[in-house]
Symmetry: C2
Subunit: 421 residues, 2 copies
């Protein structure tokens, strides 16, 4: 047996146990799942020191490997972040159980009563990179929705994720639920990812959480359905009918509150009607806040603006950089976003209802916003408790993926000896 | 340029026009779509003689090729069936427009108002075989849901499908909608199917309608997401608490009303508690109706029963044949169905609520039924107007796929200069 065969056997074993666990979880009582979630939250907090030790080892290795400051920040755990993770698990516990919920219920003239009820999907595979907190978020959301999950963390966060996972298993055990509900792949061998992507009879859907490279590989190679999570090339368009003071605050918040999250603004579109009177102050806000503004020809003359190159349109910087372009009204903004956007989150700033309505109707991003910071593109801020990611595909899940979107449904049809004519 | 290159260029052209049409359709008014549907229905009826001529050519070619009686029946059009097709299109017109419907609407403590609204998916590819009516059903449902559709009919029904398609284009034209909304691949070259399965940037989802061979090929090769439509290995389980007279009628209707549809019963499971007193009359009903009953060892001694082989479990006959097995109560039935079923439609006959509840909870078929003929597994009978098929997968669409399930959604988020803290 070579290493390749070992990984295959390992993954088939994990997949088989997940499939069995899914049958058990589909019938698990709400109370048992919620008790396990609360126990998991407590266990994660109790394991704080162990998790911080493991994280320190990951951080040291990351520094040795020369990871960027942004990646190290995503990797870093603190007491606060561990508490945040545990609170996230608790808020998932507090959500209503989606499984068994009746989505629709109607009668037919034939006498049939039809109900459409939520069911778990089955087995979810989550492939992630440097954020160790995905271990807790994904584990909690999958358990809540009655799915078994196979977690495959990246090598950078391996020790941290393993420590978090171990605490989650304590929680499962204490609630009497099978540990196979939340399995973690115990190797960083990349062949394990390849196996997961091909296990279409054992895994029902794969959620990739990470950079372009990972997501691209998953979408190219997967034989299992994927909830696409493309990058967030988030546009903010300031319309001529914007309230400029409001707009300036929203733009700054959208770009600078946290630059490394997928809801951070990456491209500013300014209505040509605002070019002379208001573009200077909007741009100057950003420059003063330390943001590098890469502007098109119309904006190039403003103080602090560096000229944009073609590569700047459609780029996700996740950094203190913003592309900026002048466009001709709502339709110009729509055209630009259709061409360069990633259908994640796009925003219009306007007091004109018709302009907002046109922006909302003509664009097809997972999240369209008006007069609000794009940094609200987040499952927690949407009221979902937590999220497993923000899906940019159009099938099944879209936008923030919480427990409800990790479910499917079935029809229950009842008659009384009803025959079809 | 060889033939292969020609097909590739042809399909890329069709895909590009569909993508453009999808943008137009996404903004089309309900009235325009419904007017086109009504015009299409009228045009299909008006083209009746032309469609029947084309169908006669397909039927003659089918007989020459030695198609089975069941396939010829699926291929055959009559005046009645043409009227049925037109009525189907009219009933789709009469349904509410799913696009733009607000699925959910809530406020957040931050002051944000969030709406979740339905949108079209984009471009749908439908690959089908011998049923020419799919041309009208799929075209109508995709138009209603604001999607562009690429229809790829099989060679057996090619002339009939082309005649129907031509009538549908008349309807689109008269309503002023783009003809690219409903395109039909103008060749029976199988390479066209291969191209469709790989066009992931131009087609958003593929719906295969046909036999095991077609569906298997699509699932194996597709780089585009697929709404799986597996065969209907439909089980009917008679529980010890069944009302036997009711059960006998339901079993007969489930098996014999039409044997060639996917909701037809293929396997009868009898509770062991009924073996001595009631199995003989249940089996005798079927034998008397001309059904070949292939029974397990427990049933083999009954008059007219032929012994089942292993291959009979999990077989979709689509014919006047039924497999029959004795099982140990609800759990025995669940075990059998989990092993051999296709998650399409399965039914329990019982007056015991607890038994029905257990059957409903433990099984995960798209449609679970109680005390009703499985022949009701149909979008029309569910009240959806028509269906593009019955999906057996768990992602996005499941069960009868009508216009609503051909939609996605997006979030519209509104604030008033709202900033994230």
């Amino acid at each position: 047996m070579d290493a390749r065969t070992d990984v295959k056997a390992l993954m088939l074993g994990i997949g088989g146990r997940a499939r069995d666990a899914a049958l058990v979880l589909a019938e698990a009582e709400t109370e048992a799942k919620d008790a396990a979630l609360l126990a998991m939250a407590g266990a994660v907090e109790a394991a704080g020191p162990t998790i911080l030790d493991a994280n320190a080892r990951d951080m040291a290795a990351g520094r040795d490997k020369g990871l960027s400051a942004a990646m190290l920040d995503r990797l870093l755990l603190t007491e606060d972040r561990i508490r945040g993770m545990a609170d996230g698990v608790r808020s998932v516990a507090a959500q209503p159980d989606p499984v068994g919920a009746v989505i629709a219920d109607w009668d037919r003239p034939t006498g049939l009563r039809i109900r459409r009820v939520r069911t778990p999907i089955g087995v979810v595979g989550v492939i992630y990179e440097s954020r160790p907190n995905v271990t807790a978020d994904a584990g909690a959301l999958c358990l809540k929705s009655g799915n078994a999950v196979i977690l495959r963390g990246g090598s950078e966060s391996f020790e941290s994720a393993r420590a978090i996972h171990s605490a989650m298993l304590d929680g499962l055990r204490s609630a009497g639920l099978t540990e196979d509900a939340i399995q973690m792949v115990p190797t960083t061998d990349r062949a394990a990812v390849g196996e997961m992507l091909g296990m279409s009879s054992l895994i029902d859907v794969i959620v990739p959480r990470g950079g372009k490279g990972l997501v691209g590989r998953v979408q190219d190679e997967a034989r299992v359905p994927v909830f696409a999570h493309l990058e967030g090339i988030v546009h903010v368009y300031v319309d001529k009918a914007a309230d400029i003071e409001k707009a300036r605050r929203v733009i700054l918040n959208s770009k600078t509150r946290r630059t490394g999250i997928c809801g951070a603004a990456e491209c500013l579109l300014i209505d040509r009607a605002l070019l002379r009177d208001h573009a200077p102050e909007i741009i100057s806000d950003l420059v003063s806040a330390g943001v590098e503004v890469r502007g098109d020809a119309d904006l190039a003359g403003l103080p602090g603006v560096v000229p944009a190159s073609d590569a700047d349109w459609g780029t996700e910087y996740l950094d203190s950089i913003v592309a900026a372009s002048v466009v001709d009204g709502v339709d110009g903004a729509v055209e630009h976003i259709r061409r360069y956007g990633s259908k994640h989150t796009d925003c219009i700033l306007t007091e004109d209802d018709a302009a907002a309505e046109r922006f909302f109707r003509r664009l097809d991003s997972a999240i369209l916003m008006r007069n609000t910071s794009t940094q609200f593109a987040d499952g927690g801020e949407f009221g979902m408790g937590a999220e497993i990611g923000i899906a940019t595909g159009k099938l099944h899940a879209r936008g923030p993926v919480g427990a409800e979107q990790l479910t499917s449904f079935k029809y229950l049809v009842e008659g009384d000896g009803t025959l079809r004519a």
